[in-house]
Symmetry: C2
Subunit: 281 residues, 2 copies
């Protein structure tokens, strides 16, 4: 059976299931054991948050989910690094494809958002960030930040018809702050990677890219030395770890060096953070 993305027929958010078999039979999460359903080509269609991994963090509308692999099959302790393969690759792919992921919570996960018993389907989320870190065990784990998708209504969508199943859409969000404006001005809207400046009828366009991301769990600062001026293409590549930056400001993963300006100092801590968490493996 091909993977089905978005809501599945006959199941709505809040519906509960006594066990994994019932959850699979309903088509919500086909595999009986794995926490991630999906593949490298299509992305992940579904995950179960059920306490199998020590590092999951459930904040309700935001879930920081730990990837799979590296566990001892008996003790379920982390005994090896995780890799960007199988379910982890599927989840990373969902982010790049902009595809929604079904989220089901199980009672086994200690969180105020978990059901008391069994499993509860909690709707569609988008993968908005993927990175690696040294987990509680000391081994490398993959981490995915998922955010609940708003079911688009007339008001928020501005459309005349409510979004149906087939329209489930995922957004990539570029967040610009007032400090970003200053960084873009200093570089005259030229990308610090390729030097290109995108021209539009109202003037040049560039994006302010936070090196150490804003928001949980990275909590990077919204400061001049933590922001790069990038074209949209290099912004995507930077956020997805297609390249990172060495201490001498040469690029790692692609050729070249960061273009600099004397009014714009870059934080060594921030680029180290990016390299350690997003750098090409």
């Amino acid at each position: 059976m091909p993977h089905q993305f978005g809501h599945v027929s006959g199941v709505k958010p809040g519906d509960t299931f006594p066990n994994r078999k019932a959850l699979a039979a309903a088509g919500v999460h086909p595999p009986l054991q794995a926490g991630i359903s999906g593949n490298a080509a299509e992305g992940a269609d579904s995950i179960v948050v059920s306490g199998g991994y020590e590092d999951d963090e459930d904040l309700g509308d935001v879930i920081v989910y730990t990837g799979q692999g590296g566990q001892d099959p008996v003790t379920r302790k982390q005994v090896n690094d995780q890799e960007l393969t199988r379910g982890n690759l599927a989840l990373a792919r969902s982010r790049s494809l902009g595809r929604p992921v079904r989220v089901t919570r199980g009672a086994n996960h200690a969180s105020p958002y978990s059901p008391r018993t069994g499993f509860r389907y909690d709707g569609l989320f988008r993968v908005e960030d993927a990175w690696t870190e040294s987990g509680k065990s000391g081994y490398l784990v993959w981490r995915f930040r998922l955010m609940k998708l708003e079911e688009l209504s007339d008001a928020s969508h501005g459309s005349r018809k409510p979004a149906g199943r087939m329209n489930a859409s995922v957004s990539r969000i570029i967040r610009d702050t007032e400090v970003s404006q200053r960084v873009k001005q200093i570089h005259d809207y030229r990308c610090q990677i390729c030097g290109q400046r995108i021209e539009t009828p109202d003037g040049p366009y560039a994006e302010g890219a936070h090196i150490r991301p804003l928001g949980r769990p990275h909590d990077g600062p919204d400061s001049l030395d933590n922001i790069l001026c990038l074209c949209p293409n290099h912004h995507v590549m930077f956020d997805h770890g297609a390249f990172t930056i060495a201490d001498d400001l040469t690029l790692v993963g692609i050729d070249g060096s960061l273009r600099v300006h004397k009014l714009h100092r870059i934080s060594a801590d921030s680029i180290r953070y990016h390299r350690e968490h997003y750098g090409p493996g």
Copy 2:
């Protein structure tokens, strides 16, 4: 006085003012007559929706705002085309810069969202679309779609601290649908403008760009023939009207032709819509 962006000190959404003079004195909207405050370099810091233009549409969290100019000063009827200058250019610039715009509603505008008397400051919006159309009068008018910014909370932001004034951030949102996935597959993630394919650790990346936009008031279809596979740079340029597409699929505004694939027919209606509403003037 330089333009101030974001909320102004001592004023919160919902605060009311008896007249434009009081609104200006509070720093919410400095000009006493013009509906748009701002300039071409910094963008627009504030607008007043007050019924001066026949074509404004107020949907609450979404406002379709008509640009300025082309009115007879006495009758206030539209007697000329509007141009991408002054306030219109400022609002278009706000979109490219990703800057928030203060919105104040006046009693003169006939809408359920208008105050009964005077003016009410209604918070920060982002400009998410800008285009031209033939107004009710038959003359060309500029139109801007503004969407209310969520004041980011802990839950939605995932940050440990609430977003303060200085952090007011604006997002550009890229919406991918299931039909977009098919278009991207057909083109093997190569941009239909430049042929480039962005590589990331989890695979190639491209964006599905709706030619006639989804959502009000364009109501473009989410169909294969209304979507292009673009790199992020050309997606921005296309959405901002830096180029459009002729009937013979040559590009207008930049050199070249649209790269096509036999499995992907392009709607002639959609490209005509884009040309008429977004094409470089």
